[in-house]
């Protein structure tokens, strides 16, 4: 055997000097960085909201102190003093007027009431219709009906929210609410009211409730249904007394997710529900939600560093906390539901 054969392999099998492993590692690090960006985003949101909210409370305290001083120097006995610390005032004061020049109130209650009113009406409309749709699609509908209805629901979900706002203001208020409430019942309906916003957002969440509930209903094991049929139940009894209770926690989770979406909805309610933080429980009156307030202040002229500017973040933080807890609760319920059936 020639000595070269053992020490020098033929040319095309020789290892060339490549940097493959370095390239692979560099690519891996880059991709990991991309993945970590999402965590960075969450941390950034939490950090920014938190620090700016702290700045808000500080600015509010300063403003309160300034106000008390000016009231004291004017020796006006009747003007109300601001006695509570800003944090307490935030949750207890029934008025929200950080943009007013003379007396600013920093109680977020009217905004929260507005948001809950609109989201509540939306839930009242979207959840029953969505659930009924899901029940029909999963229990009764044949493939042809399903292939027709599901795309329409997807189209409904794809409509931008500005369009829903337009629809609410130009169709729901004049042609649905006015005839019913003003015409028949004689109640006063304002041009922008919580009910119109609620109805629009309710229609918006129908596809969400429907698709999530349908997934949940379909994942109920067939054996359960067949056992019920075998015992002589009618289709209605199987759907309502067997499948629905079995899927209840999953459906509850889908309701929560839809509610969180309704709370976070901005454009439709800004257009339809108005910009006055009345905090009223009458759905036919104007109200302002937390999201509408953020839009209103952003469209205005708030220079940075003022208490109006920081109030943006305080309201945003409250909004974030509400939606985050609702979403986490819904995810937890869903994970427990999946444990039971899979």
């Amino acid at each position: 055997m020639p000595p070269e054969a053992t020490s020098h392999p033929p040319g095309n099998l020789a290892r060339r000097l490549t940097f493959n492993h370095l390239k692979e590692e560099a690519i891996r690090v880059t991709l990991a960085a991309c993945a970590l960006l999402s965590i960075l985003t969450t941390l950034a949101i939490i950090f920014i909201l938190f620090t700016e909210t702290v700045a808000f409370f500080r600015a509010a305290e300063e403003w309160n102190a300034e106000y008390n001083r000016s009231v004291a120097s004017a020796s006006d006995e009747s003007a109300p003093r601001k006695t509570l610390p800003a944090v307490v005032e935030f949750v207890t004061d029934p008025e929200w007027t950080p943009e007013q020049a003379n007396v600013k109130h920093f109680g977020i209650r009217p905004l929260v009431i507005g948001t809950l009113m609109v989201a509540g009406i939306a839930a009242l409309i979207g959840i029953p219709i969505g659930l009924a749709t899901a029940l029909y699609l999963s229990e009764y509908a044949g493939p042809r009906v399903r292939n027709f209805v599901k795309p329409t629901l997807e189209m409904l979900a794809g409509v931008p929210t500005v369009v829903y706002g337009y629809f609410a203001m130009l169709f729901i208020t004049p042609y649905v609410l006015m005839p019913i409430f003003k015409g028949l019942l004689g109640l006063d309906v304002e041009a922008s009211n919580a009910a119109a916003g609620g109805i629009a957002v309710g229609i918006m969440i129908i596809p969400m409730v429907s698709s999530l509930s349908e997934d949940v209903l379909r994942s109920v094991p067939r054996g359960l249904r067949e056992a019920a049929y075998a015992l002589g139940a009618t289709k209605f009894e199987v759907s309502v007394r067997v499948v629905l209770p079995a899927a209840l926690s999953g459906i509850l989770a889908s309701f929560l997710l839809a509610f969180a979406r309704a709370v976070g909805e901005t454009m439709a309610v800004t257009i339809a529900a108005g910009n006055q933080a009345t905090g009223s429980f009458n759905p036919l009156r104007t109200t302002q939600t937390m999201t509408a307030y953020i839009v209103a202040v952003s469209s205005g002229e708030a220079s940075s560093g003022t208490v109006e500017y920081y109030s943006l973040y305080a309201v945003g933080a409250a909004l974030f906390v509400i939606t985050l807890t609702t979403n986490i609760l819904a995810q937890w319920i869903l994970s427990r539901y999946r444990e039971v059936y899979h």
Binding site: E24, A32, S38, V162, F236, T266, T323, Q331
Partner: protein
């Protein structure tokens, strides 16, 4: 030989009691059974009708939009009752053959005087003039979904207003958003699916993504305002540049892109990866040459769907401070011909202010003039919906076309 008698047993008649729920097993009809049957029908009816609510709303929405976007073209041809005149005046005009505002207008324009018509006094002529004027001011002619609408900028005059800046701003913004969101999103999904599957950090990131997807879009606007506009903005005056807008929207769209890409990657069978690795390819070579090309249709579909959501988003952009009434195309030029002479102008766009179509629509809806609030906004919405339809159509086309090409 005689045929043997048939021994085929007769089929027993089905027991009515079993199939008909309204009779009890004894064979008698019982109201309770009938109620049970009725319950089922009512329930099915309720569910069936709720299913069509969505379609009904879509139809009503489209009809309203089309009517409003076109309506003003016809006010001049529709009934003269719009002028709000009293019935005797309307009758007198009708007798003279003037049944629409357009005809009255033409009559006056021809130089004839309305006092010539029997039954119309001088003060009524003034009334008619005033009514015509206010109708013209409120709903001027010439507005509609036409070329002028698509190529002019916003204006306080309804007949000159258009969506040119917003349309091109939206398109450019979406391109820039995709430019940022797609590489990062696909990269992150690749890492989560191919490199770090099952790791505890991966589960944490997954949970994080689900929560991020549920955050209201306006919070992303606050994030963008703080990070992109104020920190990276220009020294004197923080301004909402196109770059800031694109980065904000990219962050908003990122969770959806990542999840869609993950789904697409999961649908690629593992045997493909195993075969590639067995032939000696490195992990990245496997991904780049085998897995990604196979997953591209799913990725593209997910990307296009998330971008179509981003096109309609106004809330984060309002918080950023995007204006609505810009009178130039993104990049600062005023006519398309400027761009053709000097294509590099478009490169200035990321650093400049911009506006988007939904923003213009929102501003018009909040305007007090009916022409803006109802008609122009409807026309703008129709353009936006057409854009969305186009995007979704492309996504569906890609999905259909490439589904067939993949053969495992």
């Amino acid at each position: 030989m005689s045929t043997p008698p048939s021994v085929v047993p007769t089929v027993p008649t089905p027991n009515r009691a079993v199939s008909d729920p309204s009779t009890s097993l004894m064979g008698e009809a019982s109201p309770q059974r009938m109620w049970r049957a009725m319950q089922g029908k009512i329930f099915e009816g309720i569910c069936f009708s709720s299913m069509w609510v969505g379609l009904l709303v879509l139809l009503v929405l489209m009809v309203t939009l089309v009517l409003k976007a076109q309506g003003f073209r016809d006010w001049r041809s529709s009934s003269i009752a719009q002028l709000g005149l009293r019935p005797p005046v309307v009758d007198a005009l009708a007798h003279a053959g003037l049944k629409t505002p357009r005809e009255v207008d033409r009559y006056v324009a021809d130089g004839k005087s309305l006092t010539d018509i029997p039954g119309i006094s001088r003060s009524q002529v003034r009334q008619i003039d005033r009514a015509l004027d206010s109708l013209k001011r409120n709903r001027p002619e010439g507005i509609g979904l036409d070329w002028q609408f698509l190529s002019s900028f916003t204006s306080y005059k309804p007949d000159e207003a258009g969506i040119a800046a917003g349309l091109w701003g939206s398109l450019l913004l979406i391109l820039m958003t995709a430019f940022f969101a797609v590489p990062v999103g696909v990269g992150a999904a690749l890492y989560l699916e191919e490199y770090a599957k099952g790791h505890w950090l991966t589960r944490l990131i997954q949970l994080n993504l689900t929560n991020l997807a549920g955050v209201p879009s306006i919070v992303y606007g606050l994030l963008g305002l703080t990070v992109f506009v104020r920190m990276f903005g220009y020294a004197q005056r923080p301004v909402a540049t196109m770059l800031a807008g694109a980065l904000t929207l990219a962050l908003m769209v990122l969770p959806v892109v990542i999840v869609a890409t993950q789904e697409a990657l999961r649908s690629v069978p593992p045997s493909l990866r195993h075969a590639s690795l067995a032939l000696g390819a490195t992990q990245w070579q496997t991904i780049w040459h085998q897995v990604l090309p196979a997953a591209v249709p799913g990725i593209l579909t997910g990307v296009i769907l998330s971008l179509s959501r981003a096109i309609g988003e106004t809330a984060p952009l309002i918080v950023l401070g995007v204006p609505a009434s810009l009178r130039y195309y993104p990049g600062g030029f005023e006519r398309i011909s400027d761009l053709l002479h000097n294509p590099s102008l478009i490169l200035r766009a990321p650093g400049e202010q911009f506006t988007v179509l939904p923003m213009i629509i929102y501003t018009w809806v909040e305007n007090s003039l009916d022409a803006f609030k109802e008609n122009l906004a409807a026309a703008g919405i129709l353009v936006l919906l057409a854009l969305l339809l186009l995007l979704n159509g492309v996504a569906i086309y890609i999905r259909q076309r490439f589904q067939k090409q993949i053969r495992w």
